[in-house]
């Protein structure tokens, strides 16, 4: 962690689908696999419930990174939800990149209920990335930052 970021405590929102990733996060917990407390999880029924509005709103309110986790393609509890989510997020992330927002601030990762280790590793690497990017200044209400 770079020294100059010592004071920087990022806000990171993780959307997790109820059936795979939220359970994966639970497994990470029961296996005591640590990841930074900066990550806060919001439970949604399926990754296809995540509206781009939610992600933009998080940034608006001062989030420094948003990650979405869902079932692996082919394993969606609702059969096809994550396929739609995948297309939506790909386009959204591409647009954010196009607008000059660092693309490391958004991520999608497929985490199954059995992948507690992957969940914790994913969160560790994502948080590390956000620390390296520093504070989100390009998106968001600048008044929140003062």
């Amino acid at each position: 962690m770079p020294l100059e970021n010592k004071e920087f405590k990022p806000k990171i929102v993780a959307f997790c689908c109820n059936w795979c990733s939220y359970a994966g996060a639970d497994l990470a917990g029961s296996s005591r696999l640590t990841y930074p407390a900066d990550v806060k999880i919001i439970r949604v029924p399926c990754s296809c419930r995540v509206n781009p509005m939610f992600i933009l709103r998080a940034f608006e309110k001062g989030a420094d990174g948003v990650i979405m986790c869902g079932c692996h393609p082919g394993d969606c509890h609702y059969s096809t939800g994550n396929y739609y989510a995948r297309r939506r997020m790909t386009l959204l992330f591409s647009m954010l990149d196009y607008l000059g927002v660092e693309n490391g601030r958004t991520r999608v990762e497929w985490v199954s209920a059995a992948e507690g280790v992957k969940f914790s590793e994913t969160m560790n690497s994502f948080v590390e990335k956000i620390y390296s990017l520093g504070e989100n200044v390009r998106l968001g209400d600048l008044r929140c930052k003062s």
Partner: protein, 662 residues
């Protein structure tokens, strides 16, 4: 404004060791809407639940937040506790401060801070919760089985034995399906008819089972527990109540040129026919395409010879409408068309046959009365070549990408039976892999090799060239010896890939059941819900879901029956109230949501709306709560925000986002 109670659980030391629980409770009181907060050793215990109940009643709480373990663990517990205390169970939210906080963080200050934020998010959400009522829908205690093969028969018998009415709809004139066409069955070599016909008789005699043969499903509407189905009973031209099944009509019918479907077109049948001797019902059908009376108006011999007066040329198709609680699909399979595999000369030589045709040749009731002979000249073959994987495991569009699963075993069976009955016949099998997992299966295959001397060659056949003398020149490779083989054969048998019955597409569309790229019906979960369709109330039996042999089919048929019985046993279905809802004032009627719904739960209706005084008829989305599973795909697809998900509404999730980012 809500009156919210926050309950922070210590979970012994699981939470309390890293999270300052009393601090969380103290901070909760500063949140909007929170009128009560406390912490306790074990919230999920009797005493903990009693504390929640007491607070609900004493403080008149309208919503509660429990800061504890994962909702996957105790959400139901706390919802029930709230319900007992008179609070709507959906006014309960859980802040997961154990798995997502105390167990993964070591620093108390940090963990406490995070727990407070998680509590805040949950409080923010509860502030926007609304009481939800689980809906109820009735269950019609009757099941429909589509397809009357072994899968359909077994499912119907199991459901009927549990005391429920079952209807079987079968497209052909008799039940029995593919299994009735088989000669012997592996690995025990019992005669297929001997084990199948008793089941057919049992089904037809069962007081709870109604069989509609020569019938097709025409239309399906409704949803789980309450389907309405139109069944087209095609005109049989024979009165089922009068016919005695004596068979004289078939004997006397002068039109005997129609290819026999039952014998795979290897011989012919009369225009009035029952597909096979043990057909159930034993009532013939007039094939109007082949019948002279129908073609020319002259003949009428069957009517003259029928002593029962059962022939009815005027009979028309009949539509039967019936209600069902559950539908089981058991539409089975067929072999693929070999048009694109001309290298095997299937269309050029009568002596190149499929394995299913060989079953008919070997069967005593078949075209050769069970004698193994060449179909071209009736001579006894001396050299038979079997080719495996014809159209299976094929990456291009000529065949199927999957393994048809049953071919290795039936080829071993055929090879063994031929060597047993005609020891002077040489049998060669060209294979890519021999796949025989299954009880006593590999032993069976090894017996064919070791005991019966079947010559197995690792390698495919490149082409079969019919020779002027009627022989078949087979050019194959032996990969183990690294040589190309040229072999003269009298007969070539192709282990043709199987594919789902082509009708299944139409049926799946009617049922809104999903189907994969190979036209197999998709199961709700590949591992954990293999006999259910993702569409509630639709169950899968047999090969319509994927290639299977008879024992697997029967096992799955039973499993599908149990799932159907589980549904029929309920008087009412409680529906998940966390379903999508369309705000008809905002709905554009654009059908985008309909296109992403995996359950066919969204339909469009023309509805009278009153939009701030403007009365008009609009095309709007309507969600069927019995079908909706609450995934939320539609909510994001909807551009106007008309579609929202109860329990996970846009505003609820945004409130959580805001609370976390505050």
């Amino acid at each position: 404004m809500q009156r919210i109670g926050v309950f922070v659980c210590h979970c012994g030391s699981n939470i309390a060791a890293t999270v300052d629980v009393s601090k969380v409770a103290e901070m909760a009181l500063m949140e909007p809407g929170v009128v009560h907060a406390e912490d306790y050793q074990y919230m999920c215990s009797e005493a903990g639940q009693a504390k929640i109940a007491a607070a609900i009643q004493e403080k008149g709480l309208t919503g509660i937040v429990v800061c504890s373990c994962s909702p996957r663990m105790h959400e139901t517990t706390f919802r029930k506790a709230a319900e007992r205390a008179g609070l709507n169970p959906y006014m309960v939210e859980i802040a997961n401060i154990r798995e997502h906080c105390s167990w993964i963080h070591k620093d108390m200050e940090e963990a406490t801070k995070k727990a407070v934020i998680l509590m805040r998010a949950a409080v923010a959400k509860v502030n926007l919760n609304t009481p939800l009522q689980a809906g109820e829908s009735r269950v019609t205690k009757r099941a429909l089985v589509i397809g009357g093969g072994i899968a359909g028969i077994q499912t119907a018998l199991d459901i009927a034995d549990a005391g429920y009415e079952v209807d079987i709809v079968e497209k052909t004139p008799s039940i029995g399906g593919r299994m009735s066409q088989l000669d012997k069955t592996f690995p025990t070599l019992d005669c297929s008819a001997c084990i199948l016909t008793p089941k057919m008789v049992e089904a037809s005699a069962h007081e709870k089972i109604t069989i509609y043969t020569y019938s097709e499903v025409e239309k399906v509407s409704g949803f789980v527990g309450d389907f309405t189905v139109d069944i087209r009973k095609k005109a049989r031209s024979v009165d089922m109540n009068k016919c005695t099944g004596c068979g004289v009509c078939q004997e006397k019918c002068p039109s005997k040129k129609a290819p026999s479907e039952f014998n795979r077109g290897l011989n012919t049948r009369s225009a009035i026919y029952t597909p096979f001797a043990q057909a159930i019902p034993n009532v013939p059908v007039i094939d109007r395409e082949a019948c002279i009376k129908f073609k020319t108006g002259k003949c009428g011999i069957c009517s003259k010879v029928c002593q029962a007066g059962a022939i009815d040329y005027e009979q028309k198709d009949e539509i039967i409408t019936e209600k069902y609680g559950a539908i089981v699909v058991a539409t089975g399979f067929d072999t693929i068309n070999l048009e694109k595999y001309d290298e095997y000369a299937y269309s050029q030589s009568k002596d190149v046959i499929t394995s299913l045709e060989l079953e008919r040749v070997m069967n005593a009731a078949g075209p050769t009365h069970g004698h193994l002979e060449r179909l071209s000249d009736g001579k006894a073959p001396k050299e038979i070549v079997f080719i495996q994987c014809v159209g299976s495991r094929c990456a291009d569009d000529r065949g199927k990408p999957y393994c048809s699963k049953i071919c290795c075993m039936y080829t071993a069976k055929h090879a063994m039976l031929i060597r047993d009955k005609y020891p002077d016949v040489n049998v060669t099998v060209f294979y890519i892999d021999v796949r025989t997992p299954g009880k006593n299966f590999d032993e069976f295959y090894r017996r064919a090799v070791e005991q019966y001397g079947v010559n197995y060659i690792k390698g495919q056949v490149g082409k079969v060239i019919p020779q002027p003398d009627g022989k078949l020149l087979v050019q194959g490779s032996d990969l183990l010896d690294n040589r190309q083989i040229l072999k003269e054969a009298d007969m070539v048998v192709l282990a043709t890939a199987i594919e789902p019955n082509p009708d299944v597409r139409k049926i799946a569309t009617m049922l809104t059941a999903s189907i994969d790229t190979n036209n197999f019906l998709t199961e709700a979960h590949a591992k954990l819900r293999p006999v259910e369709s993702p569409t509630a109330g639709i169950f899968l039996s047999g090969v319509c879901q994927g290639p299977k042999d008879i024992p697997e089919t029967v096992a799955q048929a039973g499993a599908a029956a149990v799932k159907a019985i589980g549904l029929l046993a309920k008087d009412k279905l409680m529906t998940n109230p966390c379903t999508a809802q369309a705000d008809i004032l905002l709905c554009n009627g654009c059908s985008t949501c309909e296109n992403v719904c995996p359950y066919g739960a969204i339909t469009y209706e023309d509805k009278e709306v009153n939009d701030h005084g403007i009365r008009e008829t609009r095309r709007v989305a309507v969600v069927n709560n019995a079908l909706c599973q609450g995934c939320g795909a539609c909510t994001v697809a909807c551009p106007s925000g008309a579609m929202d998900l109860q329990g996970f509404s846009n505003r609820q999730i945004l409130a959580e986002v805001d609370a976390i980012c505050r």
